[in-house]
Symmetry: C2
DNA sequence: CAATCATGTCGATACTCATCGAACACTACG
DNA sequence: CGTAGTGTTCGATGAGTATCGACATGATTG
């Protein structure tokens, strides 16, 4: 029996630089990724709070989807919750140094929209 | 007498990660930057050709503007031409490793739109 | 089972953006 | 001075997207 895939993640071969950069180009998503990288696995609601994102749940769900479909995030189903985490291995394999550079940037340098 | 600024470039302190990522998130701009980094200084038309961008001159001018205002490109006036170059020093200073990661990515991994 | 919690999905809306052609400005060259 | 070359600016247009509220769905809990 194969592992059931609830939420589709792109495979390593399907990751594209332009797509990843576009996913990271939004300040809200950028903050979410940086928070998640710092805290480890988190469910959606907690991540949204930890990242200080004052947006609606549907909007956050949209951002989470963009990040997941770009290959930046992984979603693991845990009961009623989706545990989110950064796909560090995949990103490092496809774009060495990219995630590190993004995470190393000072918060003031991120930008606002 | 101060140096006349024909085309405004953002200073180091004004560079923002989200803005730079957004500028790099377009495949056409990504190809232009990578080509320019490989060739050194080039005028607009030659860069467009070298990058294999089959878009109108006005569209390329738009892309060049986005990259310049994000702090990715520098434009130097040389007679009737604008010599373009990558602001490697500024990018490395503000976002260490970011440009290297972008330039090190395999062409097939860039993505198309 | 009923209430609640955690998320996703849908449709609408407003805004941004990539693209083009046309017109303009400036330089170089005859 | 006129012509060609280089690049920008200006609307217009179509596609994409960030946002929301409302509803749906599955899990947890009392």
């Amino acid at each position: 029996m194969s592992t059931p895939i609830e939420t589709p993640h792109p495979s390593l071969a399907d990751l594209r630089l332009a797509t990843v950069l576009a996913a990271l180009a939004d300040p809200a998503r950028l903050r979410a990724v940086r928070t998640l990288a710092a805290t480890g696995e988190l469910p959606c609601t907690e991540l949204q709070q930890a990242a200080g994102l004052t947006i609606s749940r549907s909007t956050f769900s949209h951002h989470q989807r963009v990040l997941r479909e770009a290959g930046v995030l992984k979603a693991r189903v845990d009961g009623a919750r989706r545990m989110l985490s950064v796909r560090r291995d995949a990103l490092d394999a496809c774009f060495p140094g990219l995630l590190d550079a993004v995470l190393a940037t000072a918060p003031e340098r991120i930008g606002t929209r």
